[in-house]
């Protein structure tokens, strides 16, 4: 028996903002409601709910999934929350996919929410608790230092300059200027603006980093027979992949994300993709930092090692290029409410592949797109491939 086909049939998202007035439940419901409306459904049509949010510390609620369950539509329905740290946003649609592909569900609502602003004064302190309690926490590590280390390693290994990397930030933030939900879109930002921004932990500067944000995104997944009834333009989930590396991140090669490569190969195998650079028309790699987009494009086999920046300098990555990268504006531009940011990439592919992305629309009727997220202790890769 073949695999059950699963389609995305609806999507919705809230604005990504620095400090939302809504509670996590309310953000979840706003996004869920928009996703349902986009495909003219109500909760009565939904068989089950999958929910994604990253650490419980942001909302400061133990069993945060249970707390948010009614807001995300999981009242008197099968409800499950999955997580793989920052990779959650692209994992939760995978969770929705296996719900439907298993044959147990026909229509599933997938919701990802993050509210980082309730962590006072700054969400950065919450990240302190992701580190090993014995070996790392006593050193009081800060996420920015850790990324600075990885960025430095990446630059040193391949001899890259700050200019090579800063162009990522410029392109993504410019793309985001066309996104109505974006927090940091800026059509006029220049390379110099990025290079002159405040240094946070060298080589990481302020504009190299995505902003702390609040927001929620939701999509509706349906089995083939239902999807065809709902819409003329279903977008199929063609492949999914995820890999989690060892917890001992200090032993890892920081210049190359092997876990992303493995996750990508899993997804390419499932989608029957042999030549990703030719077959992927739009890439939405995870870009919480500008160098991360490059790092991930290499892990995804969409660029040679150390050469991803050439996609940007040659224009290939631009919205009108051969393989547009983050036409949404990515996390650098739209914002980074962690789990919601990953699902935003899935929603973007949905709109792009249906030709509904408005000012952000990639020309030439793209056939297939890839979204990827990353997370935990530089440890997990999650990949979804979607196609018309």
């Amino acid at each position: 028996m073949g695999m059950r086909k699963v389609a995305v049939v609806g999507a919705g998202m809230t604005k990504f903002v620095r400090r939302a007035l809504e509670t996590p439940k309310e953000l979840s419901w706003e996004a869920a409601h928009m996703a349902l409306q986009s495909c003219e459904m109500t909760m009565d049509d939904i068989d089950g709910v999958c929910f994604g949010t990253a650490p419980d510390t942001f909302d400061g609620v133990h069993m945060n999934g249970e707390y948010c369950s009614d807001g995300s539509g999981g009242w008197r329905k099968p409800f499950m929350r999955s997580y793989v740290g920052g990779g959650t946003g692209v994992f939760v649609p995978i969770q929705g996919w296996y719900h439907v592909a298993s044959g147990l569900f026909d229509v599933v609502l997938v919701v990802a929410e993050e509210k980082m602003s309730s962590y006072y004064p700054h969400a950065q302190a919450a990240f302190m608790t992701i580190f090993d309690h014995t070996t790392e926490r006593p050193l009081r590590p800060n996420l920015l230092w850790i990324f600075a280390m990885e960025m430095n390693r990446y630059m040193t290994t391949y001899g890259l300059s700050k200019e090579d990397i800063a162009q990522v930030s410029v392109l993504h933030k410019r793309n985001a200027a066309d996104h109505p939900c974006a927090l940091l879109g800026d059509a006029n930002i220049t390379l110099q603006d990025v290079l002159n921004s405040e240094t946070l932990a060298w080589p990481v500067q302020r504009y190299d980093v995505s902003p702390v944000s609040d927001g929620a995104v939701a999509i509706v997944l349906a089995a083939e027979h239902v999807a065809k009834r709902i819409t003329d333009k279903p977008v199929w989930i063609e492949g999914v992949g995820w890999h989690l590396d060892t917890s001992y991140w200090t032993n890892r090669d920081l210049a190359y994300p092997r876990y992303v490569e493995y996750a990508a190969r899993m997804a390419y195998d499932m989608a029957g993709i042999k030549e990703p650079r030719k077959e992927i028309n739009i890439a939405e790699p995870y870009d919480p930092f500008d160098y991360k987009a490059l790092h991930h494009l290499e892990g995804l086999q969409l660029a040679d090692r150390g050469k991803a920046c050439e996609l940007y300098s040659s224009g290939t990555a631009s919205r009108t290029g051969n393989m547009p990268v983050c036409p949404s504006g990515g996390l650098l531009g739209v914002g980074n409410p962690i789990a919601a940011a990953g699902l935003m990439k899935i929603a973007e592919l949905f709109w792009q592949l249906r030709g509904e992305a408005g000012a952000r629309q990639v020309p030439g009727h793209p056939l297939r797109g890839l979204a990827q997220a990353w997370g935990d202790l530089m440890q997990v890769g999650t990949v979804v491939i979607m196609g018309r």
Binding site: M80, V84, G103, D132, T246, A263
Partner: protein, 383 residues
């Protein structure tokens, strides 16, 4: 698609109130090693995907999935974490295999409750931060309220709840994994001080440490791995309202709906007739009665009478919690459902030793995620 999925290997550490000589990773490693030996699989080469269940605050680490892969042999493989009970984990593995993309999947759950210095406060942190937390409600207090409502609406008596404690702790005497076994009388339970009236101090399961790992496989692999595959007939799960203010306090709607989903898959219309043995949530004694009613084994208010009459004792009409349940084995946080399912697997394999129930073909495991949630899952297994 793989239609049929079986549990082909189980492993657990046994349960203890404290485990100072072992870290949670060592507990999990021990359970995983046993499960992989039981199934005859090598996690590095044979297992396609891993599912773990955990909650950040129980572990004292944010995005705890970071620390799950190494001890189960899942490093650089497809691993993810569900914030659910162990039965949610099994349901996830079941779905993964049914997609046809995975042949063998492992599920892990553990409790290291003894590591949590302020367990009552951590559990209370699951309450609504705006509406409930300012009231400083202890979780047992909420359970006491619920028990009171349940007794009121169903005319169940405190004696009937106490009978659950007597039965389960007595059953646990035959279970070498169970640390809280005891030979109590109804009077011992009823005369003990209240924890939160009408809930008595013996009627709440004490927390324990332990880890459980299970290996699931698609039909073809299951048949080649073992002579005793335990097939999954149905899996269901459901959430009711997370809000204390607008939920049904007398009925376990979540268990009712989860059971409906599982029975539909299994083609079960009359659960009492179809099911030979059940392991249900008894983290509080009254929960066993409430769950039995929600699972459709009897009408509202009948479970207490059936328990007093001995209908749910081993080798009776419907043996319930022959293992000793959570009252006998301890509350294992999110591993509770795995402990319930573990017992059903042993019983269906005929490996339950001196507490083996005769002629069992279909078993049911059910779990609840504890105060203040209304989240539960049901699993139906057959040999």
């Amino acid at each position: 698609m793989h239609e049929r999925v079986a549990i082909v290997g189980v492993g657990c550490t046994g349960y203890r109130s404290v485990t100072p000589e072992q870290s949670y990773k060592e507990l999990v490693y021990e359970a995983a090693t046993r499960a992989y030996n039981d199934a005859g699989v090598d996690p590095r080469s044979d297992i396609d995907s891993f599912v773990t269940v955990a909650e950040d605050f129980n572990e004292g680490t944010s995005i705890f999935d970071e620390y799950t892969p190494d001890q189960i042999g899942g490093a650089l493989k497809s691993v993810h974490t569900i914030t659910g009970d162990g039965l949610h984990g099994i349901a996830t593995a079941y779905m993964l295999i049914r997609t046809g993309q995975f042949d063998i999947v492992a599920v892990e759950g553990h409790s290291k409750a003894s590591n949590i210095k302020t367990l009552p406060d951590i559990i209370a942190y699951a309450q609504d931060p705006v509406l409930n937390r300012p009231l400083k409600l202890n979780s047992h207090f909420i359970a006491g309220l619920e028990m009171n409502r349940y007794l009121f609406e169903t005319a169940t008596t405190p004696e009937q709840c106490a009978a659950v404690v007597v039965k389960n702790k007595y059953n646990a005497l035959k279970n070498p994994l169970a640390p809280f076994a005891a030979n109590l009388s109804l009077d011992d339970v009823l005369s003990a001080p209240p924890l939160s009236w009408p809930l008595g101090i013996h009627e709440a399961a004490e927390h324990a440490d332990g880890a459980i790992v299970m290996v699931l496989a698609a039909e073809e692999q299951a048949l080649s791995l073992t002579d005793k595959p335990i097939w999954i007939l149905g899996a269901g799960w459901c959430n009711d309202s997370p809000s204390l203010e607008n939920r049904d306090w007398a009925h376990a709607i979540y268990a009712e709906e989860a059971a409906r989903m599982a029975y539909r898959q299994a083609g079960i219309n009359n659960p009492l007739e179809a099911i030979d043995i059940a392991e249900v949530d008894d983290t509080y004694a009254y929960k066993e009665l409430q769950s039995l009613e929600a699972l459709g084994f009897c009408r509202d208010g009948e479970a207490g009478t059936l328990t007093i009459e001995g209908f749910t004792s081993p080798d009776s009409g419907l043996p319930v919690n022959v293992s000793g349940g959570s009252l006998g084995m301890g509350n294992l946080l999110d591993a509770n459902g795995l402990a319930r399912a573990h017992e059903i697997v042993l019983q269906l394999r005929g490996e339950a030793g001196s507490r083996q129930v005769k002629d069992v073909n279909i078993g049911l495991a059910q779990s609840w995620r504890g105060v203040p949630t209304t989240s539960g899952a049901v699993l139906i297994l057959t040999n």
